[in-house]
């Protein structure tokens, strides 16, 4: 019979342990997880980039819903375990769910320490531990204002940086004389403080928080020396405490954390502890690398092995873009210790090594951290460095150069020189040898594959460069460096990175994007320019000056180019409804300009084909007089809204599908979208408007409106998914518009709704549009805002003279000049 394994807590440590266990002994256990957080396992380390806007939550999910389903793991989300009954071998959660175990793993992580000062419980005082904390901070940061971060350690500084990037005025209040004093010596701390000050973060050291002030919400921080700092947001990042109460109440041996032996076993042989809540040989860890090492040992134990955890030496980096800092080991002065220091004031570089009996025991580096892994490797192995002593501080490249007698180092030489067991990825403990072996054995060629197979650089990502160098060395010519599919040959960045960076860095024009994101060509190409132009239009609807030269001809000339260089003109026919007056006007235009073909399109309107460019403004002028606007049949934007006759005429019609279609089209026309958007509204499930193959479709039913999305009937055929059902027409409009805006903000250029939905998950979309009224309202309002600038009929603009040059030759040369 399969044994029951129950895990309390669904953080990074048990997530890793399960991966190892499923690989070693799939099917050995029936696994149940309880997680107090209402979500799957995500990369907690990456909360800082989410806070700063450099990543989205979706990017940092480690195991998505599908992973649990695939492995048959039961995950109780939002279920905090409140009791362990060791006699009955069960655990019970606050929501009443009980599970029996044969083996139990306690992985409850840590809880942030909240200073016991007056006002600490006011709204607006936030800890920094999970996604909810980040969302709370972002909510307040939206309004700008001031933030005070209490605590100048790793977490506090990352929070400060993120909030600054989000536009808040930020101060860091730190008790000690220098920041990050546990990882940095005063010299490196000084350089870091300077770098943060240059980023507009003010740092107050030797500042003791006395109280948080405010009526009903946080309004300021009072320091012991009498100073008061105004604050709309107070972040407490003063430390963490292992979450061991549950274990203690169950009678297990608990010190600072839950005490475990080298096999990760607690004082009860059926119960293990893992992660930040565990205490091993008197040590509690607060970084993932050691947790992952012990996760491996636990997976081994649970599958019958005898692995032993020996404790870990840790190293630290700070995830603040542009700040390079590395620290490892013990770097305090002491008897018998020597130090080697290198400074380059102009370059802002500081390196210090602390040696004891010719072995490196500590390293602090600021500015140039390339040799961090090399020093750390020697530190962990306790290598005797006397033979390197004189040039040690100059780094590995110099050693290689001296040994090889050649002054110039080939790129990657430092990595080539690393031993096979040298660690490349600190978070996951992956050695160079393992990466090389995986590449050769499995024929890996991309960074994404190497990440998937080895986990190297899959956590904090700061070793990505090293992993790439190992790949380059192993694969030689066969190495394809792009990790994500780049937008085009002008950049190595993918669409998502470009969009995110535009937002995070506030880039406002195509040249600025190209400069800041280091485009490899002077002015882009026909692939990236239209994409960038769209991203900027979408991001800054009010103050971005649309770059017409970066639009495809159809969107520049507001007509569809045909194979013979003529154009077709499709006026809007709202919801497919027309009138004698409109038809007469069209007939007149056809006669007047001798238009060769008139065709009813697949989108319920009329196409006039074969018009020469020079005639376009005049054709539009006549159509405009009859009340027509552009049908945008050429646009990555709202195209048609097909309708059926609905309750107004049809004996089966349940609602006014024609009316709703017209209303939607009038509300949404003119909007630019990542790819074209086609809508349809059918009056009943007979679905005569073909709503179930549209980007967004509505099927009217007796009780209301069934909203569909993510259909396709072009290059691919795909029936829609159901988003949900709403009762009123107003709600239907709000949901459709919100969904469109979500798509506008998130999809990659040229990605239609069905592809985007497949990539990010229809569940995610449903959760935001159907279940989260506040999100939906936000999307809706942003769409409405951008429509204020987008709903301008491009035809009448051109009839009044805009872009005249597009329609007229520059010169006419009458006769052959001989």
């Amino acid at each position: 019979m399969t044994q029951k394994l129950v895990i309390i807590g669904n953080g990074m440590a048990p997530g890793r342990m399960l991966e190892e266990l499923l690989e070693k002994a799939p099917g050995l256990y029936d696994v149940t997880i309880f997680n107090a957080e209402p979500r799957v396992n995500y990369d907690r380390i990456m909360l800082s980039p989410v806070l700063s806007g450099e990543k989205d939550y979706a990017d940092i999910i480690i195991h998505d819903e599908g992973w649990y389903a695939y492995h048959g793991i039961t995950l109780h989300k939002g279920a905090r375990v409140t009791r362990i009954d060791r006699a009955a071998k069960t655990v019970t959660a606050a929501n009443g769910v009980t599970a029996a175990y044969d083996k139990l793993v306690i992985a409850t992580g840590s809880a942030p320490v909240i200073l016991p000062v007056p006002g600490a419980d006011l709204p607006g005082v936030v800890a920094y531990r999970d996604l909810d904390d980040v969302l709370r901070m972002l909510e307040i940061a939206k309004q700008g204002g001031r933030a005070v971060v209490i605590g100048g350690g790793l977490l506090g500084l990352e929070a400060a940086y993120g909030l600054r990037r989000r536009g808040m005025a930020v101060s860091v209040v730190h008790l000690m004389p220098t920041i990050m004093e546990r990882q940095l010596d005063p010299a490196a701390a000084y350089l870091l403080e300077k770098a943060l000050t240059e980023r507009d973060i003010s740092i107050l050291t030797q500042a003791n928080t006395k109280a948080i002030l405010g009526q009903g919400k946080a309004e300021g921080v009072a320091l012991a020396d009498g100073r008061v700092l105004p604050a709309d947001l107070v972040v407490m990042a003063v430390g963490i405490r292992p979450s061991a109460r549950l274990a203690k109440e169950a009678g297990l041996t608990v010190n600072r954390g839950v005490v475990v032996d080298d096999g990760m076993r607690t004082s009860d042989p059926a119960i293990f502890a893992l992660g930040e809540c565990a205490e091993h040989r008197g040590q509690c860890y607060g970084l993932v690398a050691p947790l992952y090492e012990s996760a491996k040992v636990l997976a081994d134990r649970l599958s019958g092995g005898q692995g032993e955890y020996q404790g870990s030496v840790t190293s630290t980096k700070l995830k603040v873009t542009g700040v390079n800092l590395f620290s490892a080991g013990d770097f305090a002065d002491g008897p018998g210790r020597e130090e080697v220091v290198l400074r380059d004031a102009a370059a802002g570089v500081y390196k210090r090594l602390v040696l004891n009996e010719n072995r490196i025991i500590g390293a602090v580096m600021y500015g140039d951290v390339a040799d961090g892994p090399w020093y750390f490797d020697m530190l962990k192995r306790g290598l005797d460095v006397s033979h390197l002593r004189d040039t040690l501080i100059f780094g590995q490249a110099v050693q290689g150069a001296l040994a090889g007698g050649c002054g110039v180092q080939a790129p990657g030489a430092a990595v080539a020189a690393l031993a096979d067991d040298a660690e490349i990825c600190g978070c996951n403990g992956i050695s160079k040898g393992r990466i090389v072996a995986a590449i050769t054995a499995k024929g890996l060629t991309t960074l994404a594959e190497v990440r998937a197979h080895t986990k190297a650089s899959a956590s904090c990502g700061s070793c990505t460069g090293l992993v790439e160098q190992v790949m380059a060395l192993t694969l030689g010519e066969a190495y394809r460096p792009a990790a994500v599919e780049a937008v085009c040959g002008c950049t190595d960045l993918g669409h998502d990175d470009v969009r995110r960076l535009i937002r995070a860095k506030g880039l406002k024009s195509i040249p600025e994007v190209m400069q800041e994101l280091e485009w490899k060509t002077s002015c882009g190409c026909a692939k990236c320019r239209p994409a960038l132009n769209y991203y900027l239009v979408c991001e800054y609807p009010d103050d971005y000056a649309d770059d017409y030269q970066s639009r495809f001809v159809n969107e520049r000339l507001h007509a569809n180019i045909q194979k013979d260089g003529t154009y077709s003109v499709v006026p809007r026919m709202w919801g497919g409804v027309t009138s004698a007056h409109e038809l007469r006007a069209i007939a007149d235009v056809v006669d007047k300009f001798a238009i060769p073909m008139v065709k009813v399109t697949g989108g319920q309107r009329i196409d006039l084909l074969g018009i020469v460019k020079e005639d376009l403004p005049a054709v539009w002028a006549d159509l405009g007089k009859a009340g027509f606007v552009s049908g945008q049949a050429y646009a990555k934007g709202l195209r048609t809204v097909k309708t059926c006759v609905g309750s107004q005429w049809c004996r089966f019609g349940t609602q006014d599908s024609t009316g709703l279609g017209i209303r939607l089209e009038k509300f949404m026309w003119g909007s630019w979208t990542p790819a074209k958007v086609k809508l349809a509204v059918s009056g009943c499930p007979r679905n005569c408007a073909e709503s179930t193959c549209k980007d967004i479709g509505i099927i009217c039913v007796e009780s209301g409106y069934e909203i569909h999305f993510a259909g396709a009937a072009g290059l691919e055929i795909k029936g829609t998914e159901i988003l949900g059902t709403v009762k009123t027409e107003d709600e239907a409009l709000e949901h459709v518009v919100a969904l469109t805006q979500m798509y506008r903000e998130q999809a990659r250029y040229l990605e239609r709704i069905y592809k985007w939905a497949k990539r990010i998950g229809t569940e995610t979309i449903r959760a935001q549009i159907m279940d989260d009224a506040e999100k939906r309202q936000g999307y809706f309002e942003r769409f409405v805002f951008s429509q204020a600038f987008a709903q301008v009929d491009p035809w009448s603009e051109r009839v009044s003279g805009k872009d005249k040059h597009e329609f007229k030759p520059m010169a006419v040369i009458a006769e052959a000049a001989e």
């Binding site: 882009g524 190409c525 030269q549 180019i561 010169a811 006419v812």
Partner: protein, 130 residues
């Protein structure tokens, strides 16, 4: 230089021909990273202005299936044809990459912003006018 047509002589392969330069307008008539057309009895000519203000002229016919190059997206010293995305070098008219073909290129002169086109110059690669 005035806005008129004039003649000068170019020599290629030891034979000299008279070249007639015809005034076609000012560089500012063309948007940066864009093009305008000149209609001539011998067909439409596309005159391109790049981001760095170089000016080139090509017959407005893609070597692939005759697409109007004048309405393509201009990037660097290339234009992407609007019909099927061939990339055409503005200086030579040559299709880039795997595609093969050449649009006829002709010389343009830029005299302080005033542009002149030589319609009947020998079919040499166009010169980039500064």
């Amino acid at each position: 230089m005035t806005d008129t047509t004039w003649t000068d002589t170019t020599c290629a392969d030891m034979t000299c021909t008279d070249v007639i330069w015809i005034a076609i307008g000012h560089i500012d008539d063309i948007p940066r990273r864009g093009a305008r057309c000149v209609t001539t009895p011998k067909g439409r000519i596309a005159v391109f202005r790049t981001a760095d203000d170089a000016v080139f002229a090509l017959e407005d016919r893609c070597p692939h299936k005759g697409g109007p190059l004048s309405v393509g997206i201009v990037h660097g010293h290339f234009v992407t044809c609007p019909l099927h995305n061939w990339n055409i070098g503005l200086d030579s008219g040559l299709a880039q990459g795997a595609d093969e073909g050449q649009a006829r290129a002709m010389p343009v002169r830029n005299e302080g912003g005033a542009l002149f086109l030589a319609l009947d110059a020998p079919p040499q690669p166009a010169v980039a006018a500064e």
